[in-house]
């Protein structure tokens, strides 16, 4: 697998993690505040692990890949870029669409011939199992709600659209990289 494919994966997880964390403190239920914050933390952890593998191949570091690229170098799906706060129905629709697609992608990666990729995918899959249970619970609850169904239809085609710059992504990039850009050479 080449580094660009790893970056696609890592970018999806980083940006979705960022977007999910936007619910921290303002989710409609306390349980969901905790859930989305925790899911966000997991996704960013997965992003880091994939960036580390890509960084080894590209001779750089995970932090540089996550935060020092230009906005047009990110390869994430349009689905994860969107800022969906405060639309809970759309947020759950994205969560469900993403977790369902990600399950297939992880299953394929678990069969990779590269031991590091297969091993990491297997580990990530165990964490993602909890995300899938959560997404499925919400799907079961909302599946007959017109707003939810409409959001699924609207968002589904965006899953496979990549590397298309949106003003929302440019804004997210500004926020995400601000600290690092303001302190050149800083490390944490």
């Amino acid at each position: 697998m080449n580094a660009q494919t790893l970056l696609e994966l890592a970018d999806d997880e980083l940006i979705l993690g960022w977007r999910n964390s936007e619910w921290t403190g303002i989710a409609p239920l306390l349980e969901e505040d905790v859930a989305f914050s925790s899911i966000a933390q997991n996704e960013i952890g997965h992003a880091r692990a994939w960036y580390e593998l890509a960084a080894r191949e590209l001779g750089t570091t995970a932090d540089e890949l996550a935060f020092d690229r230009q906005p047009d170098e990110y390869r994430c799906s349009r689905l994860v870029e969107l800022r969906l706060v405060p639309d809970w129905a759309a947020t759950i629709a994205r969560h469900y669409l993403y977790e369902t697609a990600d399950e297939e992608r992880i299953a394929a990666l678990k069969r990779s011939e590269v031991p590091e990729i297969a091993g990491l995918a297997a580990k990530i899959d165990r964490e993602e199992a909890y995300h899938r249970i959560h997404a499925q619970m919400w799907f079961d609850r909302l599946q007959d709600e017109p707003r939810f169904v409409a959001a699924l239809d609207e968002l589904r085609p965006l899953l496979d659209v990549r590397a298309e710059q949106t003003p929302q992504f440019a804004e997210l990039w500004e926020e995400m990289t601000m600290v690092r850009r303001s302190l050149a050479g800083a490390t944490w």
């Binding site: 905790v34 692990a49 590091e116 091993g119 165990r126 959560h134």
Partner: protein, 161 residues
């Protein structure tokens, strides 16, 4: 020269940064210790990949090994070799005694909602199995939140991984 046992003993004194009642050895995250001359190589597996305790654990191990007069080489192995099944029985008892319900055994095919909603989980305070799932997610990636209907106490349940 440092012996392998000395290294294991030193690592057994490092508390988990988020649940300090349990050590890194209790947690089962140390996969191997190899001593050759004055070099000590430790292979260490993260619990959850997003766990911020990872760096703290790695630095603590490096420090302890250096304090033994050896040269530390701590490698983080991000594969599927760690499972909550690797938490030792002593570790489980320490978790329970401090109010964290230890993880259920790993099951083939991974966790299922029906299982999480079942009464297979015991309250760490009163031992009752009349407990309910409140939230799959909790204050850290490794924990869920449950509620004991018997002693009316919410508690944290280690997720099975």
């Amino acid at each position: 020269m440092v012996t392998e046992q000395q290294v294991w003993d030193a690592l057994a004194e490092i508390p988990d940064p988020e649940i300090p009642v349990i050590s890194l050895v209790d947690l089962g995250v140390i996969r191997s210790v190899d001593v050759s001359r004055d070099q000590v190589r430790v292979e260490f597996t993260p619990t959850f990949l997003g766990c911020p305790a990872l760096e703290v654990m790695r630095d603590a191990m490096t420090e302890r090994i250096a304090a033994l007069g050896a040269e530390p080489d701590v490698q983080v192995i991000s594969d599927d070799s760690w499972s909550t099944d690797r938490i030792t029985s002593e570790g489980r008892e320490k978790l329970r005694a401090s109010g964290f319900a230890p993880p259920a055994p790993r099951e083939v095919g991974g966790p299922k909602l029906v299982q999480l909603q079942s009464n297979a989980f015991r309250c760490p305070y009163c031992g009752s199995q009349d407990t309910a799932l409140e939230n799959i997610f909790g204050p850290t990636p490794c924990r869920s939140v449950r509620y004991c209907r018997n002693c009316r106490q919410p508690f944290e349940q280690f997720k099975t991984l």
